[in-house]
């Protein structure tokens, strides 16, 4: 029996507003428990919600970035259930009329093929608080700092057919929300959480199988493993003649398995109804266009522009537009340098990335700024130093020894481009190595490197390589 895997993803991304969606309390991560939970957040008697306009702006940004239709009118509803981290006994969310409607899609790259994942909708809602399960004499501790943080819930159609596709989508979405500046994407801190709806069906059958929801996957690796496990689990049950129970499951990373959280019998009746404390949210066409105009150039468009404007190969353009900060760094460097896009691209994808990875830094924290890098590349361009020496200068710059010119000066790294000086070095080497010269002249072309090596050593690496090669060839030939 051939099985087809069907996956849909629901992602909750925290919108990076400074205050909460319905109150003026701060949203910053890491504060002492309940120090960022005001009267509205702890649902004291008599308090009321007041909506944060920036949450809407960020949600609209998202909708536009994926090409979805924005609902001019959207409505907040109450989702009623009891849980200690839900102070009001209901979550304010959007059901019937979400701010972002249909039409959105996200392109993913899996191995060597591309695919569009359709986004059904995205809506705004508030985050709940946190339960701390460390023992307080057999009780749980509730921290409501997170309660009221704005979330955007992004729902896809069940378009994914493998764990690889699911992870590719999650990664692309993660990258996009950071790119457009609506979410910091910090999965460890819980800013970006995915739930996967997984089902299987016999290949060729149209009807969807019963699905299970795997909640709170907070790493791409766990997502992949959890889905793999779940798919296997479901297939085994079905092949044994059993039926899948529709339920919510949690992934246990230590045992690499999913286990049931709540069964269908406990399925909640949320009794959704429009929140009478909030009126319908209305956004005009003008507003939508304003938000659209303020959107940064999106990854795909930027990539295409890097190809056409800078003449970069597709691979380079793709690598440089993986993150907005990297793309910005690239353009800034090229602007200072006044060109040499490929040279810049090579350095970014090569030396700079290697250094950032080695020191586990984001490009935003790079000790070498785009201006500094441009300065370095300029000195290669104008022949002051060779590419090889530049690597040494780069490392020195990374370690804070100053700018390019200062380092070249301090370490005496200027390239020797005086043909007279180079000729002298060559003459000395030829004179000192008659046997090898003879070998070369008798046809052993490989000896060339030997002489170049000696010359480089003699010049402490500063001989202009092109000139050296040129003059060396002439002199060896005789």
């Amino acid at each position: 029996m051939q099985w087809e895997i069907v996956i849909g993803l629901e992602t909750h991304a925290q919108l990076n507003t400074v205050s909460k969606i319905f109150s003026g309390a701060a949203t910053a991560y890491g504060a002492e428990p309940n120090t960022q939970a005001c009267a509205v957040d702890i649902a004291l008697p008599g308090v009321l919600p007041v909506f944060n306009r920036t949450a809407a702006e960020k949600a609209v940004k998202f909708g536009l970035a994926v090409g979805a239709r924005i609902n001019h009118k959207s409505v907040f509803e109450r989702k009623n259930y009891f849980y200690p981290d839900l102070p009001k006994g209901y979550q304010t969310t959007q059901l019937e009329l979400p701010i972002v409607a249909e039409g959105g899609k996200l392109r993913i790259q899996v191995g060597d093929y591309e695919k569009d994942i359709r986004i059904t909708r995205a809506h705004m809602e508030e985050d709940a608080g946190k339960s701390l399960h460390e023992d307080f004499h057999g009780m749980s501790g509730i921290d409501l700092n997170r309660a009221g943080t704005p979330l955007i819930e992004i729902v896809t159609e069940p378009d994914m057919r493998s764990s690889a596709e699911a992870v590719a989508y999650a990664k692309a979405l993660h990258s996009l929300v950071r790119w457009i500046g609506i979410c910091d994407g910090n999965m460890q801190e819980g800013s970006f959480r995915c739930d996967a709806n997984v089902s299987v069906r016999p290949l060729g059958v149209e009807k969807l199988g019963t699905r299970c929801e795997i909640k709170n996957l907070n790493s791409f690796k766990f997502m992949e493993k959890a889905i793999e496990f779940e798919v296997q689990r479901q297939i085994e049950i079905l092949e044994d003649g059993g039926r899948i129970v529709q339920e919510t499951r949690l992934y246990d990373s230590e045992r690499n398995e999913t286990r049931s959280m709540r069964s269908k019998e406990e399925a909640n009746d949320y009794r959704y109804f429009p929140d009478p404390d909030l009126l319908p949210l209305v956004v005009s066409d003008e507003y939508i266009e304003q938000v659209r105009a303020a959107l940064p150039e999106l990854p795909q468009a930027k990539c295409e522009r890097f190809i056409s404007q800078f003449g970069l190969p597709a691979y380079d353009a793709g690598a440089l537009t993986a993150a907005r900060e990297l793309a910005d760094y690239f353009e800034a460097t090229v602007a200072v340098l006044g060109g040499e896009a490929k040279l810049v691209a090579n350095w970014l994808m090569g030396d700079l990335s290697a250094a950032l990875n080695k020191h586990d830094l984001d490009i935003a924290a790079s000790p070498v700024s785009s201006t500094q890098l441009a300065g370095l590349l300029k000195r290669i361009q104008d022949g002051t130093i060779s590419g090889k020496i530049a690597k040494e200068v780069f490392e020195a710059m990374w370690n804070g020894e100053g700018d390019t010119d200062a380092i070249i000066e301090a370490r005496g790294l200027k390239q020797i481009s005086d043909s007279g000086a180079i000729e002298k070095i060559i003459d000395d080497i030829i004179a000192a190595n008659p046997a090898q010269v003879a070998e070369y002249r008798s046809g052993k072309e490989k000896m060339f490197g030997f002489f170049v090596g000696l010359a480089m050593k003699a010049s402490k690496g500063k001989a202009n390589p092109a000139q050296l090669n040129d003059l060396m060839k002439k002199k060896l030939v005789g």
Binding site: T17, V18, S19, S23, G24, A25, A26, E32, P33, N34, T35, Q36, A37, C38, A39, I42, L44, V50, F51, N52, R53, T54, A55, A56, F82, Y83, P84, D85, S131, L132, H133, F136, G138, M139, S140, G141, I142, D143, L144, L250, M261, D269, R271, P274, P276, L278, L279, P280, L281, V282
Partner: protein, 95 residues
């Protein structure tokens, strides 16, 4: 729509209100009588009528994204049933 004892138990559970054995009958009678009152609505044709959620046809007012609340944890937790280390304590939450 006639209410059953199971309905009453289900509603009580949704509302997290403990209803003891003998009380269920009482609730059934009273709730049924109230629902009987409400049945009158069904006799009226409301095709094409928009539900009215608010008296005025106004839209949601927007607040600027600024932090305007200070930390008043002590004041708020002074009225809490059980607090420790700044956390509200409840019977263990089982996931």
């Amino acid at each position: 729509m006639s209410l059953t004892l199971d309905d009453v138990k289900r509603i009580a559970h949704l509302a997290r209100i403990e209803v003891g054995g003998s009380e269920v009958e009482g609730y059934l009678a009273q709730l049924s009588s109230i629902l009987g009152l409400v049945e009158e609505m069904q006799a009226v044709n409301t095709d094409g009528i928009e539900p009215m959620a608010h008296a005025q046809d106004v839209v949601l007012r927007l607040r600027e994204d600024v932090v305007s609340e200070t930390n008043r944890r002590d004041a708020y937790q002074a009225v809490a049933p059980q607090v420790e280390a700044g956390l509200y304590l409840v019977p263990k939450v089982i996931e």
